[in-house]
């Protein structure tokens, strides 16, 4: 019994010391980690929607499907709506491809960025390399309303050789983002200022914009 108590206590002491150390580490690193994450997201948004200066979290309630979508609205330095950044995750070859798509207020695709994916290295992963992105950029720049289908399926997008499924998933994701954009488009043009107002998001928005400005 005494033995038991002794062991329990010893473990308690060790655990306590560990707890102190860890709590301290956490208190130091937690803000940094949070900041890193936000920075990364901010960076991605900025990349796909270069015109925007700051971003607001927005929501769209699809009453028909009784679902709520979130997206972020990019505001230019003049306070106008530059466009939206929409996060989609189409099902790729080996799992969801998480990506953000930047669409300007006219509905034109501005850019995309793959956040995470599990595609086959060297094949599906080419989605995030210039091999795929450059022709795609060129396509959206040149064609007003490209058919978002792989060429094989009669669309305009140059699919990645030997990674048709990944390419298709990509097209599906961009289409999804466009669909959502069309739904929220009225919101954007209707009341651009209102969007900047929601108190819950204003805080982070200003924070990120300052960090962004510092760069």
């Amino acid at each position: 019994m005494k033995d038991m108590l002794h062991m329990g206590l010893f473990l308690f002491v060790i655990a306590a010391v560990a707890g102190v150390l860890l709590a301290y580490t956490e208190s130091v690193t937690a803000p940094l980690i949070l900041e890193n994450r936000q920075k990364a997201e901010e960076l991605a948004r900025r990349e796909v929607l270069p015109g925007a200066d700051k971003f607001n979290e927005s929501h769209y309630a699809d009453t028909a499907a009784s679902q709520t979508y979130s997206y972020s609205t990019g505001i230019t330095s003049k306070g106008e709506v530059a466009g939206v950044v929409i996060k989609v995750a189409p099902k790729g070859y080996a799992g969801p491809i998480e990506m953000v798509v930047g669409i300007d207020k006219t509905g034109k695709i501005n850019g995309y960025k793959i956040l995470s994916q599990k595609e086959t290295p060297g094949l599906g992963t080419k989605l995030s390399t210039p091999v795929f992105s450059e022709p795609f950029k060129k396509l959206v720049a040149e064609k007003a309303t490209p058919v978002l289908l792989v060429k094989k399926d009669g669309g305009d997008v140059d699919g990645i050789t030997a990674a048709t499924i990944s390419s298709r998933a990509f097209c599906k994701g961009v289409s999804e983002a466009l669909d959502l954009f069309r739904k929220v488009q009225p919101q954007l043009t209707a009341a651009p200022q209102n969007l900047a107002l929601p108190a819950a998001t204003a805080d982070t928005a200003s924070q990120t914009s300052t960090t962004g400005g510092n760069q």
């Binding site: 062991m7 010893f10 580490t25 937690a30 980690i33």
Partner: protein, 199 residues
């Protein structure tokens, strides 16, 4: 002299991976690039140092029966610390190493050294042992990563290498490549030793 051997034995003679075949899980999983290998090596070395030092300090106080849980807890503490540090200061590395950082906890090298060395030796020796083993571990990881990154991506530390970058063999950076390269490396080491022995 003696201290020096404590330090160097882990690098070649008792290289934790190639000779003692310990801690192979993180070895294979993170060696798809030199950067990851180096990051993992440093992280593991840090944990090894911390745990070895700490354990050798308290080695006479620990009740035998709960020795292992205590060691694991100490190791886990250091692992969590390094995990958070990496996440805070090198988010890219953190995301590419993923859950393999917390998994250092169960890396046999660390517990193995704690049990086999730190629990029986003084803090200075233990620290030296940890550094040596850590370096050996890092070197072994880098060796593997060298072949995998070079052949699998045509790069080293992310820099494209001429000739290799043209058509890299993707399988090298996937799981099978890790297994095969590791197996062949051990065989190569043995083959060289056997050659050396006959000469």
């Amino acid at each position: 002299m003696n201290k020096l051997t404590e330090l160097t034995k882990g690098i070649w003679k008792e290289n934790p991976i190639f000779v003692i075949s310990l801690g192979i899980c993180p070895t294979l999983a993170v060696t798809s690039s030199m950067t990851n290998a180096l990051g993992m090596g440093i992280a593991a070395t840090f944990v090894l140092m911390g745990s070895n030092l700490f354990i050798s300090l308290i080695r006479n106080l620990v009740p035998g029966k709960i020795r292992i849980p205590v060691y694991i807890m100490i190791i886990a503490t250091f692992v969590t610390i390094i995990d958070k540090m990496i996440a805070a200061f090198s988010p890219a590395l953190s995301s590419s190493l993923g859950i393999f950082i917390p998994l250092i906890v169960v890396n046999c090298i660390i517990l193995g050294r704690a049990e086999a060395y730190a629990s029986k030796n003084g803090p200075v020796d233990s620290l030296l042992d940890a550094i040596g083993m850590g370096i050996g571990f890092t070197i072994a990881l880098s060796c593997l990563a060298f072949f995998r990154e070079l052949l699998g991506e045509g790069k080293l530390y992310g820099f494209p290498i001429p000739f290799f970058k043209a058509d890299p063999a993707l399988i090298m950076i996937m799981a099978p490549g890790g297994f095969v390269v590791f197996g062949l490396l051990i065989a190569l080491k043995r083959f060289m030793e056997a050659k050396g022995a006959t000469k």
